[in-house]
Amino acid sequence: MMLPGWPGGLAVDGLSAVLLATLAVVLVAVLVHAAGEKFGARFYVLMLVFAAAMAVTVTAADLVLLLMGWEVMGAMSYALIGYLWPDAERVRSADVAFLTTRAADLGLYMAAGFAVAGAHSLRLDDLAAAEAPWRDLVAAGVVVSALGKSAQLPFSFWLSRAMAGPSPVSALLHSATMVAAGAYLLLRLHPLLAATGWADTLVSWVGALTALVLGAVALAQRDLKQLLAASTCAQIGFMVLAAGLGSVAGGTAHLVAHAAVKSLLFLCAGVWLSVLGTQRLGELRGAARRHRPVGAAFGAGALALAGVPPLSLWATKDEVLADAGGGLLAVGLAASVLSAAYAAKALLAVFRPAEGGAFRVPLLESVPLAVLALGAVVLGIPALAGAWGRVLGVPEKSDVRVAALSGVLAVVTVAAVAGVRRVPEPAWAVNWLWSERVALAVAVRPVFALARALARFDDQVVDGAVRGIVRGGRWAAGLTGRRVELRVDGLVDAVGRSARWLAALARRPQTGQVHMYYAQAAVVLAVLVLVALLAG
């Protein structure tokens, strides 16, 4: 309990346990892999703090602890994206990523306030029972935060920026764990979404549309890490769709399988980046053939990502789609066709025959790839066996027709991409819908302009008024000095002058000559006599 009087704390249930195990496995795999590259102490400090924050996030039972883990993850993401800090452009990417996610985090801050108002509690379990207007506000805040963290529309662009970080960072934070936290939160708070009557529908559609649109974005990318980033948004879209549909088992299954697949793919991309010095798909031609084990691992991951049966993501995605109906199912199937297409595009790019000799990869780097590749292949089995529902204690559903349809679609799509060899790359998709540019134009630039205008206003008007009062005071002082003071002083002067004049007048008779004194005495006497006569 962080705040006195507001119960909460850390607690582990089925969902938390699954997330913790996923985090632990991917963390170990990524750190072992990273040990092969030469990272400094700062890297490990930041990665471990991140892992602790993620662990707090997925075990928090109240909004305070949830928000604490949630925001520390964001800060570590900032520090790791900007790991190579002398490069100003990477620092800028880190800025964009942090500010975008924090803008979304404001939703959780507000949700905490609304929860206090509506439920008199900060516990996650109590949110669904909040009173009417507040419950909707809490849900709105939570949804915005979760969509931001999970890089769903319209926040997706920050994940493109996040690719400026080292590949192990992308493998842990920006594919497997942190970005999945938004989906986790929505899965956990499904009762709240359902209670509002609108939030679950909204979340389903945002997830499905992100899966579709970012799928198209992924397909258009010419850079392997950018392709994987867009596909992360799209795949998390399926989890968000699951949260909206209430398919907690399907969403969790997809989250776990995707964590293995995507961290594997990012680590492979990192190997090629460090050996071949490039992550452009055109220049990676034949990379998979030059080191067979890495190539095979990447192949397994890419086929799983494509949704080819019987690999993991085929099974888990279909568990999500089994709960969808009508429009959502159609969008979901279209999105899974796109995922097959972009996975095939990456796969073909690196497997195309090309010259270039074999290269060596340290054992430390390749062992984690094997483990993750195994996960990418087999993690669909629990979903097929209905194990997730038992672990999480929720009903689980699957639909053979949907599974068969999506499996066939995936295989056909991969074959088609292999056949056409060129996929459309529209400019809007290559540039991630220009959403960063839109955010700059709509939010960032106006705020900076306002800030500069207010700074001028502060100098000239607010402080100017103070200076004006001071000037006014000085002017009044001057005025009294020159005018009033002159009059008052003049009056005093006049008194003095008249006194002097009287004195001079009085001095005049004092001549020292005796006859003058006699004359004066005679005059005074005469006056006295006159006064006596008149008075008498």
Binding site: G5, W70, P86, R102, M110, A112, V116
Partner: protein, 493 residues
């Protein structure tokens, strides 16, 4: 005990002229650390209960029933501790100072007594005397050890805040005249709030303007940036860390419990002034290129949160638990802002010491030559932008949750808008890190050498305490909580 805590620094200051030159700095540090230890012992003695302890009440000016009445409770203890910590940090930070050390130490020890006395005062006249003496002391710190256009800044600071203190005195006289029998005693004034109706409103106006200038809130804040920019680093740290709290402390100690009627009636004004300070302070800070001015404006932003929370506490119809949360958050924010902004100003001082400027555009990539300095700036910046795990989050989360959670339309809307402040603060501190600490080297980067030992010894405890409050907030909150409950009850009368 309390008298010893308050007057120990002054006693040492009086003895300091007799101390040989080389021992001056160490004597100063010794006195500050000893005082800190005494405050800590007092905190342990007080525990986490309610009420006032270590109370002393001596006749002082019986003709107006003003006494030397002091004591500590859950509001004053955290601020006394903050004061002692910051003065000790400034003493350590100034270890290498060569320019008129003795006078500097005497002035700071005098200021420490003044600040401790203010936070312990339970008599309005005593409070006022300390309030004014702090202005005098800081005036000389800026005037004699400042840089840039220091005489002008010092004069502006003095006249502006002195004017504020006179308005405050008018308010105190209003309270005095309203009480029956007439008294300046805070405990009696709190027990039976003196003024009701229009007179109460006018008195609150006077006290509000007086404390608002000191806090400062928009639009009475323009003395702050020049005073900070031209003050020496230690002076800025004390000015922002301790002296701004005198304003917010006054709101909780005097305005709310003594004028509950008026406070409830004008709670909306407090909410709006708080909200404007939050957003305006953050936006103006975003546009600054002088890093010290930038930090000064973030103080306006951070103080705005406090007023916002206190305004929410005035909504008697709102949820009592939420209002308590808001008041606890406000007090936590006072402590947190003191620690973090104190550290930020000392860090600005390091930059000025090395490069002689605060211009952001002339630095860049200082993490290369000075990695420890870069870490410290980074941690302080993230603490100030409210990153969880550091004290600012605990304060601001409670303020937002409490203000919005009060549950009236006005508090929910202003609280939700104030949340935007933490996004703007994040943007402006990332901008500082981007331009000064990270990226390619700038014009003056070569001159920025690593932090020296005294600087490190001053900065690390401040940030460590921020971390402690951020991770284990109960050490602070359990002391504040009874006080918040009392204040909420007093305002609700």
């Amino acid at each position: 005990m309390l008298a010893l805590v308050i007057f120990l620094p002054l006693a040492v200051a009086c003895a300091l002229p007799a101390v040989p030159g080389r021992a001056v700095a160490w004597t100063w540090i010794g006195a500050a650390v000893l005082d800190l230890a005494l405050v800590a012992a007092m905190w342990v003695g007080h525990g986490t209960g309610g009420g006032v302890s270590f109370e002393t009440n001596v006749r002082w000016i019986p003709s107006v029933r003003a006494g030397y009445h002091v004591g500590v409770d859950g509001l004053s203890l955290p601020l006394l501790a903050l004061t002692a910590v910051l003065f000790a940090a400034c003493a350590v930070y100034s270890l290498r100072r060569t320019h008129r050390v003795r006078a500097f130490a005497i002035l700071f020890l005098f200021l420490e007594t003044v600040c401790l006395g203010l936070f312990a005062a339970l008599d309005l006249l005593l409070f006022f005397v300390f309030f004014d003496l702090s202005i005098v002391g800081m005036y000389f710190v800026i005037l004699l050890w400042g840089h840039g256009d220091r005489s002008r800044s010092a004069l502006k600071f003095f006249l502006y805040t002195f004017l504020g203190s006179l308005v405050l005195l008018l308010g105190f006289i209003g309270l005095y005249l309203g009480a029956d029998p007439n008294t300046f005693d805070m405990v009696e004034l709190t027990r039976t709030p003196p003024l009701h109706g229009g007179l109460g409103g006018l008195t609150l106006l006077a006290i509000g303007i007086g404390l608002g200038i000191k806090t400062p809130v928009v639009p009475f804040h323009t003395w702050l940036p020049p005073a900070h920019t031209d003050a020496p680093a230690a002076g800025s740290a004390i000015l922002a860390g301790v002296m701004l709290k005198m304003g917010t402390y006054g709101f909780v100690r005097i305005a709310m419990p003594m004028l509950p009627d008026a406070w409830r009636r004008y709670a909306l004004v407090m909410l709006i002034v708080g909200l404007v300070s939050v957003l305006y302070g953050a936006l103006v800070a975003l546009a600054q290129d002088n890093v010290k001015r930038l930090v000064a404006y973030t103080s306006v932003n951070h103080m705005g949160y406090i007023l916002l929370a206190l305004g929410a506490a005035g909504y008697a119809s709102g949820d009592a638990g939420a209002r308590r949360l808001a008041v606890t958050g406000a007090v936590t924010q006072m402590v947190s802002h003191g620690l973090v902004t104190g550290a930020l100003f000392l860090l600005c001082g390091v930059l000025d010491d090395r490069a002689g400027t605060y211009d952001l555009g002339r630095f860049g990539g200082i993490a290369h030559n000075a990695p420890v300095l870069a870490w410290l700036i980074g941690i302080a910046a993230f603490a100030s932008l409210g990153l969880p795990g550091l004290s600012g989050f605990i304060a601001e989360f409670q303020i937002f949750a409490g203000t919005i959670g009060t549950g009236t339309a006005a508090t929910a809307v202003t609280g939700a808008l104030a949340v935007l402040g933490i996004l703007i603060t994040a943007a402006l501190f990332l901008r500082v890190l981007h331009r000064a600490v990270l990226g390619p080297p700038g014009e003056l980067t070569a001159r920025v050498s690593e932090v020296r030992r005294p600087e490190l010894a001053a900065l690390v405890p401040l940030l460590a305490l921020s971390l402690l409050i951020g991770v284990v907030p109960r050490v602070l909150l359990d002391t504040i909580e009874p006080l918040s409950a009392a204040v909420v009850a007093l305002v609700g009368r």
